[in-house]
């Protein structure tokens, strides 16, 4: 079925009755993110990769977990927040990142209640990429700019609007809602190719772990400043820290994003730090993205969105690392 361009706003209005719609939005001339739809204007679907990924919707930068009282009658109350939300216009790379987070937070052995509640109420509407940005490399990471298999619904660009493909039950519900606004016809535009390419392969993912002591880590780490930019802008980084805000006898336990690039991430109670320098920290990030996650969950944790490449203050580039490693270890495709 095809949704014509002129029917986009009516379609969003129908959707708005189901929950809060978050669309790619330019906050100012430098920053863009998924923000509530204003209810009347057409979302900027040409924004290739918002500065901030949509992960905040499911895994907030800061999330209250419990309210407690220690004074008087002690009490503990779980904070339940799971608003009905629709992520609209999610790129294939970001759609895949949600799939990665699902693997972690909705695992067989452990389910994270906070994430699970939010996730159940979020519908993901993905949108194919008509053009790619200079730092996009999803098609080197096993994805395609034209597909988002884990999204609930996929909108593929046609000449006059979008093909609507429901991929899950939630997606079918949306397609049914749009029944009167869609019609047969339309042909999806061919998928563009990413301009940035890198030589990632399953074999390399397997080899990297055994190269833990290779000089390569020392060679690539020095320009890194140890900031949180790459991990905080990464759609798949899911590390968090738990802390509390105490107001004398009562307070809130909360969790917030943390980053393996920070020095205090691995600092132990006695002061020892098993990852004492940028070499160990960068090695952990690259290995987690490219190898560890695959060992555990069967897929690579880097979806090729290019945010870390585009925003690193020192212009470190994970694709340059991958190619250097592939060349050195002879594990290229």
């Amino acid at each position: 079925m095809q949704l014509k361009r002129e029917n986009l706003i009516p379609a969003l209005r129908l959707l708005a009755a189901q929950g809060e719609i978050l669309v790619p939005t330019a906050v100012d001339e430098k920053v863009s993110k998924f923000a509530p739809w204003d209810g009347s204007s057409a979302p900027d679907l040409a924004l290739v990769n918002t500065t901030l990924p949509p992960k905040d919707t499911l895994f907030p930068h800061q999330e209250g977990m419990y309210r407690y009282k220690t004074a008087g009658e002690p009490s503990l109350e779980e904070i339940v927040e799971a608003p009905a939300r629709i992520l609209f216009g999610v790129r294939p790379c970001d759609a895949r990142s949600i799939d990665c987070m699902d693997k972690v937070f909705l695992g067989d052995k452990y389910e994270d209640a906070f994430y699970a509640r939010r996730r159940a109420n979020v519908t993901v509407i993905a949108h194919t990429c008509a053009q790619t940005g200079p730092t996009c490399f999803c098609d080197s990471m096993g994805l395609s700019p034209a597909e988002a298999p884990s999204a609930d619904l996929l909108l593929s660009d046609t000449e006059t609007g979008w093909l609507v493909t429901a991929q899950t039950e939630k997606g079918e519900a949306v397609a049914a809602l749009w029944k009167d606004l869609t019609a047969e016809g339309g042909e999806a535009a061919p998928a563009p190719a990413c301009t940035l390419k890198t030589n990632m392969s399953d074999a390399l993912a397997g080899t990297l772990v055994s190269r833990f002591e290779d000089p390569i880590w020392d060679e690539v780490c020095h320009a890194c400043l140890g900031c949180g930019t790459c991990t905080y802008l990464c759609p798949t980084c899911y590390c968090f820290d738990i802390n509390h805000e105490d107001h004398g006898g009562e307070g809130t336990q909360f969790r917030c994003w943390d980053s393996c690039m920070f020095s205090d991430y691995t600092r132990m109670a006695g002061g020892h730090n098993p990852r004492p320098s940028k070499k160990e920290r960068l090695r952990n990030r690259y290995l987690h993205k490219l190898a560890y996650f695959k060992e555990r969950y069967g897929q690579i944790l880097c979806v090729g969105c290019g945010r870390c490449v585009g925003h690193c203050p020192s212009h470190l580039d994970i694709t340059a690392f991958i190619d250097k490693a592939a060349e050195r270890f002879g594990e290229g495709k």
Binding site: H61, Q62, P134, H222, L225, C227, Y232, S314, H315
Partner: protein
């Protein structure tokens, strides 16, 4: 290839071959034509990787601090801003000048907004200068403090709203701190969060605490290199804060610029028994 770039490679090669230094910090290519990255050259052969072009924007002096107790000398390529950053760090007693070899590179301005108001394009300190000095550009105090003056024109309520909106974007990535040559504490107050100085919460209060504390910790020592704003992924105009402090100092005591020598006491860090204290 520019003459300066060839001279830079030759100089680095010579320094490494003769064992004068153990490493040369400069800029090297990336796979993007409009970006370079800091590189750390340790062998004479690798000197060929050094580049000198309009995209050499990353500040280099901060990397000295990766090893505060070096064995042997370190060479750093310094533009005007990098040389002031070196002075900043040496003046703050975080590195010894004699452990450095500075390759001065007069700079015609790079692909960075800060270069439009740069008052020292020629290195203010160096051991060797490659190429002749470039003409300095005329930067009036009005131009230097233009962003600050514009904000001063707002009412306090408008100013609060403005900063509120800016700080609400901060994600506590600390790139601004990690890139800043004036931020050279071995351990930042913000990393000692169990003490309770800086909460990890992303909210109005904690975002402002970080912004204001950072500004006051570096304000009177800021060398105006612009790195903090260049690296901020959220586009916070945080240099307007440090420049506000510099402007106030300027208004009270006359022209004040940091990092021009390595031995000038910084103004807010000075205490003297004869200081006026009529406000007490």
């Amino acid at each position: 290839m520019s003459d300066i770039q060839s001279a830079l490679r030759e100089t680095a090669k010579k320094l490494l071959t003769e064992g004068t230094v153990t490493c040369v910090i400069g800029w090297g290519e990336t796979r993007f034509p409009d970006k370079t990255t800091p590189i750390f050259v340790k062998t004479p052969e690798d000197a060929e990787k050094l580049v000198w072009n309009a995209h050499c924007v990353c500040g280099l002096a901060k990397y000295m601090l990766d090893n505060r107790c070096p064995e042997g000398k370190l060479a750093i390529c310094v533009r005007g801003c990098d040389s002031r950053a070196v002075n900043r760090i040496v003046e703050d007693k975080q590195y010894k000048r004699e452990d450095l070899y500075l390759i001065g590179l007069p700079c015609e301005g790079k692909d960075a907004p800060i270069c439009a108001t740069c008052t020292h394009r020629n290195p203010v300190v160096y051991d060797v200068l490659l190429g002749g000095p470039v003409p300095e550009i005329e930067v009036s105090q009005e131009d230097r403090f233009q962003a600050v003056t514009a904000l001063e024109g707002l009412t306090p309520a408008e100013q609060y709203d403005y900063w509120q909106k800016q700080f609400s974007k901060c994600i506590h990535c600390y790139a601004c701190r990690n890139a800043c040559p004036a931020c050279n504490c071995t351990e930042c107050y913000a990393d000692q969060y169990r003490v309770g100085w800086q909460g990890k919460q992303i909210d109005k209060a904690e975002n402002q605490v970080y912004g204001l504390t950072r500004a006051f910790h570096v304000g009177d020592r800021c060398i105006e290199c612009g790195e903090c704003e260049r690296v901020c992924p959220m586009g916070l105009p945080i240099m307007s804060q440090t420049r506000k402090i510099l402007k106030d100092i300027n208004d009270l005591w006359g022209n004040y610029e940091c990092g021009l020598t390595d031995s000038r006491p910084h103004i807010l860090g000075e205490f003297d028994l004869s200081d006026r204290d009529d406000f007490m």
